[in-house]
Amino acid sequence: MIARLKSWEGFLLMSLVVIIGINAGLSPEFLTLGNQINLFQLSIEKIIVALVMTFIIINGEIDLSVGSMMGLSACAFGWMVKEQGVAAPAAIAISLGIGVLGGALNGWFITRVGLPSLVVTLATLIGFRGLARVLVEDRGLTDFPEWFDALGQQGLIGPLPFALVAFAVLFGVLYIVLERSGFGRKTQVIGTNREVAEFAGIDTNRHKMILFIASGTIAAFAGLLYAARVGAVRGDVANGFELDIITIVLLGGVSIFGGTGSLTGTLLAILIVLNIRNGMALLNITGHIQTGVIGLLLIASVMVPRLKFGTREKTA
């Protein structure tokens, strides 16, 4: 059955239908619009970051620091608003600025010093989290301006909250960029073979720099969304989110070696992960076990296509 399917996306789509079927059987509430929006809303920060992570991994790099950057921007926002008396709009702008700077820092070490992104972002994974802790230490900050909380918790267009609208818009824009623009083509070419890309006259360093800045900025944006949705920040906001984000991207068919992948795959993977988590929650399975299942899924998503399709292995 699986072998007859032509593409990984087709396989994902089929799995998704099966999972939704099981979930709908488990609970009559599952297919209501409210539950579906809730489903997205609970993980909206992760899936927004997963969109940019798709570009990073297609480009042959990795960004492990996104979870910490989310924590840093959320904590920086909370610290400025609650403890430094900065106006919320200014604090939002500064937090996004921190995202730009953090991404540029990653990009600088990767492109100028020539260090592997795995090491650089592992270091900033620790470092950004450390800065978040320096700002809020062990305090929890809450009571943000009402409009800020409302942005995260209430519907913006009908029942659709701001974050979901932002996700939809970002998905649309990035889809066009990846599939229809020169930038998207370059992302794939660099990921497939960096040297060839260099010979073709592509400024690969500049390209990677742009991607890491985008990743940092979107992670900071997602951190702010988290602060708005939960209405509180602590030093451990978004701790460990990188696992879910990378799982989604790889499950979506992006090769860890770079070069291949699509945002359609990522979107399908997002839906699968969200529905599996929701289904497990319906079965009263705890968060820790859910994370373990996501881990299994991560390994399976790399191994199964190897065995069944044999197309995702990079030809050396």
Binding site: I62, F109, V113, G114, L115, P116, L118, V119, V120, L122, A123, T124, L125, I126, G127, F128, R129, G130, L131, R133, V134, E137, D138, L243, I246, T247, L250, I256, F257, T286, H288, I289, Q290, T291, G292, V293, I294, G295, L296, L298, I299, V302, M303, R306
Partner: protein, 348 residues
């Protein structure tokens, strides 16, 4: 002196530089903190290095083969919990048996990682990112919400880390630290002297060439993960002995600390080069900073993680730039010497 400088390998220079940095740091903190050098400083640092040195060594073995193990923290936590459970229900159990149990228990986790990485050919970063979560969730399931407490452990186990073995210059070397040092040196000797362990370097620097030379690269990667798991298991036992109270979050974050110690200690993240002695010194350096920042009044202890992140970036950057320079400089010198020799021959 310059002769020594030319003869030393980059790794040797790296170890000298690390020692110098550690001494400088100690001097700096001594000037900042009143009564910095007391008897507790050494016992505190050596106590925590006993655990860190083992996980840094475990990580080094894996990194040498061009892989990474992010599940180390979960393995340490799970082994500590399982060993605590075992020994508190069988208090009469022999120490040797417990050590063996921890070794094998950790090695099993390592074997799972190794199988999937070496034979399933899934990149280690993916596998161990996943098993980090899987092992941890298995621990949560296994623990059933309970935790291990010190009073259920036999006295010989909890006293082990504080048992003095010998004293040099007023510094008390305790059993756990001595045991960890012995293990690290044993691994160092094995890595530098034993043929099967030398193959770690071969596979790490060029897997294809290693295959051509008749080395079974898959088996080497697999054994690196198994050995690393066994060392992580021993670290779990040390963890249990030192802290006594074990919850499901035991060892959380150790994966990053171990990578940090190894990388700061000059182990090349691309595989193929590095020493466990370097990783040991890296662990000491990270720990000196950790322990001292807590006591430094000017900077709050919440700076620890931020400083650690910066330290990793700094050391990898200097290492990369320095090694590039050194290689270029030595090549230039050799070239100049050849030119001079040619010139002498041309005009006798």
């Amino acid at each position: 002196m310059t002769g020594l400088f030319h003869r030393l390998s980059p790794q040797g220079l790296r170890i000298l530089a690390l020692l110098a940095v550690i001494l400088l740091l100690l001097a700096f903190f001594a000037s900042q903190i009143d009564g910095y050098f007391n008897a507790r400083l050494f016992s505190r640092i050596s106590g925590s290095v006993a655990i860190m040195a083992l996980i840094a060594t475990a990580q080094t073995l894996v990194i040498l083969t061009r892989n990474i193990d992010l599940s180390i923290g979960s393995v340490v936590g799970f082994t500590a919990f399982a060993a605590g459970n075992l020994v508190s229900s069988n208090p009469e159990m022999s120490a040797l048996l417990l050590v063996l149990f921890c070794c094998c228990f950790g090695a099993c986790f390592g074997a799972v990682n190794g199988l999937i990485v070496a034979y399933g050919r899934v990149p280690s970063i993916i596998v161990t990112l996943a098993t980090m979560a899987i092992f941890r969730s298995l621990l949560v399931e296994y623990s059933d919400g309970k935790s291990i407490t010190t009073n259920t452990l036999p006295a010989w186990l909890t006293e082990f880390p504080n048992m003095p073995v010998f004293t040099v210059f007023g510094l008390e070397f305790r059993a756990a630290f001595v045991a960890a040092l012995t293990l690290v040196f044993a691994v160092h000797l094995a890595l530098t002297r034993l043929r099967p362990m030398r193959q770690f370097f071969a596979v790490g620097s060029n897997p294809e060439a290693a295959e051509m030379a008749g080395i079974d690269a898959r088996r080497v990667v697999f054994s690196a993960f198994v050995l690393s798991g066994a060392l992580a298991g021993l670290a779990g036992l040390m963890f249990l002995a030192r802290f006594g109270n074990i919850t499901v979050v035991a060892g959380l974050g150790f994966e990053l600390k171990s990578v940090a110690a190894a990388v700061v200690g000059g182990v090349n993240i691309f595989g193929g080069s590095g020493t466990v002695i370097g990783a040991l010194l890296g662990a000491v350096l990270v720990d000196v900073i950790d322990t001292s920042l807590v006591r430094w009044a000017i900077v709050s202890e919440f700076w620890r993680e931020a400083v650690l992140g910066a330290l990793i970036l700094l050391s990898v950057t200097t290492d990369t730039l320095f090694t590039r320079r050194l290689v270029a400089w030595r090549a230039a010198r050799a070239h100049a010497r050849r030119e001079a020799a040619l010139n002498r021959e041309a005009r006798p």
